[in-house]
Assembly symmetry: C2
């Protein structure tokens, strides 16, 4: 993993990829699959996400105030589904699905070695947690694995239906 | 446009498509391009989005409490960029870029005829508007244009770089 500029983090999250979210509570790391997230600010990068209070990760995120967003390329699609279909209450998902935790630099939850990007985050705002399970995160440190060339991400359309990134378009634009 | 079940709206927003947002203030409709949005609840569908207070649409959204999220297929990519690169303060973007406003049923802002999906929304929660320009919207009515077969959406990667939907994957999953 190589450091990635915080000013470009939005280019990872804005396209709406399916991601993993890792947490750690009492030193036990866990990972869930997540698709409900968006950019909130460019820099420092702020990301909003919804983590259901039915998820085992909710309590860990709320109590520790830390997480890692790890972005898998399409080749990890089966692991994405497996991780999403069981709970950290009963399964060590890293071991069960062959995901390799790596130590993060600024937070306790681990990076995931197999993912092409990892974002170390702390919880920044919890005002909408009680109402909507909506957390606002600040990205403290970002990493990318440059050995994964032109990774294609996954986009969830419900019930195990995913769309993989297709052709690129470059248009002249003044938008960041 | 045909009605679309609110219970399936998340399948439109969750994949992270670039969308249009229409608003209306004092009967003048406007449209902007938006990529910072996410699902917050399945049903009734709640969508969070960030509309910068630098955008002309911000004041209309805040004062009227209404908008339409219109989802363009990839063929509209140039219009997406054009709409994002000018302001409704000085341009009638519907006329300038050949987008056809259609009356909505539950809100004042128009649908966009050229888009394959249109979501009529009211502002549901403004607690994070002052801090982050973050609105929580409730979808009141959803429409799809069934004549657009298997529309491919756009995902923005920054600075006019877009990825178009590619291959579909179907995996066995218990996730909604």
């Amino acid at each position: 993993m190589k450091p990635f500029p915080l000013s470009k983090v939005y280019q990872l999250i804005e396209p709406g990829p399916v991601v993993f979210l890792t947490t750690a509570a009492k030193s036990a790391a866990n990972v869930m699959t997540m698709s409900w997230h968006m950019m909130v600010e460019f820099e420092p990068p702020l990301i909003a996400c919804v983590v259901s209070n039915a998820n085992h990760s909710f309590a860990a995120l709320r109590s520790s105030g830390e997480c890692v967003i790890a972005i898998p390329a399409a080749g990890l699609a089966r692991k994405v589904v497996h991780v999403g279909n069981c709970s950290g209450r009963t399964v060590d998902k890293f071991a069960a699905f062959g995901l390799t935790p790596l130590p993060a630099k600024r937070v306790s939850p681990p990076l995931i070695a197999e993912c092409f990007a990892n974002l170390e985050c702390k919880v920044k705002n919890t005002r909408l947690v009680t109402t909507y399970n909506l957390f606002v995160l600040e990205v403290l440190k970002a990493w990318v694995d440059r050995s994964q060339k032109a990774p294609k991400t996954l986009h969830h359309h419900g019930y195990g239906s995913f769309v993989v990134d297709g052709p690129k378009l470059r248009l002249k634009s003044a938008m960041r």
